[in-house]
């Protein structure tokens, strides 16, 4: 007697449950970002500091310093970065990339006046930028939740844990007079910010919500960096299936079999 009643109710009930769960999914937090409220606050703080200090300095740097000098500065720090990339490429068991990174360092330091001239790029020796977070990722450590670090910006739990190792592997750390070391850190920060000025101003006009846009772009970009370690070629996820999207424009297929 109860059976037919249940059968009549099952379909509308399951429809209701499905709708509720979908609504919950849509309105709930992003599973990659469980610390979102905290991250948003740190993001706002970073932005305030950026607007007040870093961006004006970087803009002044860009406007006052000739492009040739700025390129030289960028090349110098790029060369130092290549040293650490060599180590990480080796740690990831990528002999060709490690060899190329080492060759870059050699060529640029010897023929490029200590790294100021990027001779290696002229010779088409490809740069394979790697940090310890990518090494960890290569060996199976998942990224973990999205974290925004004070002053340092977007990161993930794994990459934050890798930071001390990156800092240890940073050649600037070995510079002796502490004032020179600090000066180099500051110069590198200003140089990096100046290179990003165009991208960040485009971000203003492109994103509806800067925080989610930065987070999603960062997490996608980071995943590509870890998966293939090269500047974009041959990403595993792009093996034919990247960016595939369901066609919401087409007629929906009938959901449940009709009785």
């Amino acid at each position: 007697m109860t059976l037919p009643v249940i059968r009549v109710l099952v379909r509308p009930l399951s429809g209701l449950l499905l709708a509720l769960s979908l609504a919950a999914c849509a309105a709930g937090p992003d599973p990659r970002d469980p610390f979102e409220p905290f991250n948003r606050k740190v993001s706002d703080f970073n932005e305030a500091v950026d607007e007040a200090v870093l961006k004006p300095v970087a803009t002044g740097y860009r406007d006052a310093v000739p492009a040739l000098v700025r390129t030289g500065v960028s090349n110098f720090f790029g060369n130092l970065g290549d040293v650490w990339s060599t180590v990480n490429n080796a740690l990831q068991l990528k002999p060709q990339q490690a060899a190329e990174s080492w060759l870059r360092v050699g060529v640029n330091t010897v023929f490029g006046m200590g790294g100021v001239l990027d001779v290696a790029s002229e010779l088409r020796i490809e740069r394979h930028r790697e940090d310890f977070g990518q090494t960890l990722g290569r060996w199976g450590v998942g990224p973990g939740p999205y974290v925004v670090l004070p002053l340092l910006g977007p990161s993930t739990l794994r990459d934050t844990a890798a930071l001390p190792v990156d800092a240890w592997g940073d050649p600037v750390r070995t510079v002796n007079p502490a004032s020179a070391e600090t000066g180099l850190y500051v110069l590198r920060a200003v140089d990096t910010r100046a290179k990003l000025l165009r991208a960040t101003s485009m971000l203003e006009s492109v994103a509806l919500d800067k925080y989610t846009f930065t987070r999603d772009a960062y997490l996608q970009r980071r995943r590509v960096e870890v998966l293939n370690g090269e500047s974009g070629s041959g990403a595993v996820e792009d093996e034919g299936n990247g960016g595939a999207e369901e066609n919401y424009d087409a007629e929906p297929a009938p959901a449940a079999p009709q009785r």
Binding site: M202, L208, T212, S231, S233, E245
Partner: protein, 216 residues
């Protein structure tokens, strides 16, 4: 009866022959299409004096006329909006498309304004001949490191050049995926009309802020 069957066969043969040349002429291979479009765009950017001066509106006009006909914008918008697309009214869908298109064309044009003497290499296509969806991978090479630029395309036989773009990837970041969370946030807070308003406001403030891009 034999004559009728023969007549029918002859008619279908003629029809097939008539149809075939037009499909050959219209359908281009997807990687060839991207290469042609990229080269045309780069040529215009390098030679047009207004564009070299940084006029964003001029670039937007060029993108509109050259690139957009090869984009299935309706599908791109639908994918970005997600399941709510099917609940939107046709007027809402049209407005969503228009506002999103203005936003994207402005973004793309802003990026193009920075191009100086870069060249675009299209990588060999890795797809079976019968695939109806492919990813075309290209790279922008210039000073500094190459920038990855990928297009996800669907086969549209007989329409336009035979393939249309519906998703774009820059440096590993897929456009639809990134905008989708932006959109769903707005839709959750203020519904589809709220999303349309937010997009329209963003477009209005972009149009007011600057018509020229800083080069270099």
């Amino acid at each position: 009866m034999n004559r009728r069957v023969f007549g029918l066969q002859a008619a279908s043969l003629v029809a097939a022959l008539a149809a075939a040349p037009s499909t050959w002429a219209a359908d281009e291979a997807p990687d060839a299409l991207i290469k042609r479009l990229s080269d045309e765009l780069l040529t215009v950017i390098r030679t047009d004096p207004a564009i070299k001066a940084g006029d964003i509106n001029r670039i937007m006009a060029v993108v509109d006329s050259k690139v957009m006909p090869n984009v299935n914008f309706r599908r791109m918008t639908a994918a970005t909006v997600g399941p709510s697309w099917r609940q939107a009214t046709p007027e809402q869908q049209k407005r969503l498309q228009d506002e999103f298109k203005t936003l994207l064309v402005r973004t793309y044009s802003g990026a193009l304004a920075q191009v100086n003497d870069e060249s675009i290499t299209v990588k060999p296509l890795r797809a079976a001949a019968t695939d109806t969806e492919v990813v075309v991978r290209s790279e922008i090479r210039g000073r500094g490191e190459p920038i990855q630029l990928d297009y996800r395309m669907e086969k549209t036989p007989g329409q336009g050049a035979g393939w249309k773009i519906y998703n774009l990837n820059v440096l590993g970041v897929w456009l639809v995926e990134t905008y989708r969370s932006q959109f769903s946030q707005e839709i959750n807070n203020r519904g589809i009309d709220g999303l349309i308003t937010a997009l329209a406001e963003r477009n209005r403030s972009n149009a007011n802020s600057n018509g020229t891009a800083r080069r270099g």
